[in-house]
Amino acid sequence: MNDLNAIYANFVVELRRGVTNLVVLNQCQQPSYGYQLVKNLAERGVPLEANTVYPLLRRLEDQGLLRSDWDTSAEKPRKYYQITEDGLELLAQITASWRESVKNIEAILEE
């Protein structure tokens, strides 16, 4: 039974991994910082680890899909990320692709 639980946990992680980029890009349409993203997503039922989100934000920035700015005006300095033009274009594409996949997979599951 324990084995099955472990396999299940692994499945969930694998399923989520693919859509992490989509969710993070989507959330960055408003300027956001890492911790805020982690909290927001967890509250909305998509728990992601900080140690996944932070490196991911940086990778998306390296790919030119996000840009970042340090906000040092507040008491705590925070690095805000926001989506770029390229990011928006890609976001539209992967959102469409996601919806298409969900529709098709749903259809298979319903059979």
Binding site: Y33, G34, Y35, E49, A50, N51, T52, Y54, P55, R58, R59, W70, K76, P77, R78, K79
Partner: protein, 340 residues
């Protein structure tokens, strides 16, 4: 260890092997994340050490987090974080090889009788190029294997209390220091093991060269010389990896010094340690270099050492003194660190 120090060590462990260009920014962002998480966890109160530990544990082991910052798709021969370390090692090795080969090639060029200047220059450049290619190939091969086989650059840290300290300025070992000793080690290896016939040429004449030391002795003691070189390289490698005075640095320094002393004692108690031709030349050129045989303090020395020119004895003594000072310096700095 207090919370602040623990966080400092954790962030250092994560970022130290990341590319220099974003090391600081990642460190700053991690600090901000940890502060934020801690503040929430302690609900406005002063966070306890236990809170800090819990937050860091949640973030995961430093090496795992470092790996997430440099994803390994294995589509490169040498990927991050290995690549940064590879570049650093490559620079040092190429620099040392260039200097070592230049000196060795010049010695050989000037001791070979025939050949025009151009031919000599050509052969010098040729051997430097060969040395560089060899150094490049070996370093690249070693790092490619380390990367492809996933050999960890850092030991996995199970307990946060085991995180190594961030080196402070006074405990830090300067890179220039390591490079200098590495260059001397390469020179030592070249002169005494690779071309023992040349070792340190004293006189260059059309009939040939006169080296200071007896090549037969050098060849007979070859393994001892190689062992000393290996101990020196080991010490420099440990210094390069840790970059601060610590117990492993102290131990390898001690080992190197023991090897050096053993070599010097064995070497200089061998009969005919000097090239007889050199002794004769020197005697005829500058008789005053020789200590008079009946000089009283000399009688205390073993027979083989009595024939040593005073200058060499001074160099030898100076060398031993230098090693001793280095050992004392290392132990003082190590002790300070351990106490801190």
């Amino acid at each position: 260890m207090d919370s602040k120090e623990l966080i400092k060590r954790y962030i250092y462990a994560v970022t130290k092997n990341l590319p220099v260009s974003n090391r600081q920014d990642v460190a700053r962002e991690l600090q901000s994340l940890i502060d934020e998480t801690l503040a929430e966890r302690s609900q406005g109160a002063q966070p306890t050490d236990a809170d800090t530990k819990a937050v860091l544990m949640e973030l995961g082991s430093p090496s795992d987090l470092a790996a997430k910052y440099s994803p390994q798709t294995k589509d490169a021969l040498i990927g991050q974080p290995y690549f940064s370390v590879y570049l650093r090692v490559l620079k040092i090795v190429l620099l040392a090889v260039t200097l070592g080969m230049t000196i060795a090639a010049l010695v050989q060029a000037f001791t070979s009788v025939e050949g025009s200047v151009l031919v000599i220059l050509g052969s010098v450049l040729g051997s430097i190029w060969q040395g560089l290619l060899g150094g490049f190939a070996w370093v690249t091969l070693i790092f490619a294997i380390l990367y492809q086989k996933d050999v960890k650059l850092d030991a996995d840290i199970e307990d946060l209390d085991d995180l190594p300290a961030v080196p402070e300025k006074r405990q830090e070992i300067k890179l220039s220091e390591i490079i200098t000793s590495f260059i001397f080690t390469i020179l030592f290896l070249i002169l005494f093991v690779i071309v023992p016939q040349v070792n340190i040429p004293f006189l260059v004449q059309p009939s040939g060269l006169t080296s200071i030391f007896n090549a037969d002795v050098l060849i007979r003691l070859r393994w001892l010389f190689i062992a000393v070189t290996a101990a020196a390289v080991l010490n420099q490698a440990v210094r390069f990896i840790t970059r601060r005075h610590s117990l492993p640095v102290f131990i390898t320094t001690l080992l190197e010094m023991i090897m050096q002393t053993a070599l010097l004692l064995t070497w200089f108690s061998t009969p005919n340690v000097l090239n007889p031709a050199f002794s004769a030349e020197l005697g005829s050129l500058v008789p005053s270099f020789f200590v008079p045989a009946n000089w009283a303090p000399l009688q205390l020395l073993p027979q083989t050492l009595r024939m040593m020119p005073l200058l060499l004895l001074i160099v030898l003594g100076g060398f031993l003194l230098g090693s001793l000072i280095e050992l004392i310096e290392t132990s003082v700095r190590t002790f300070r660190e351990v106490k801190a």
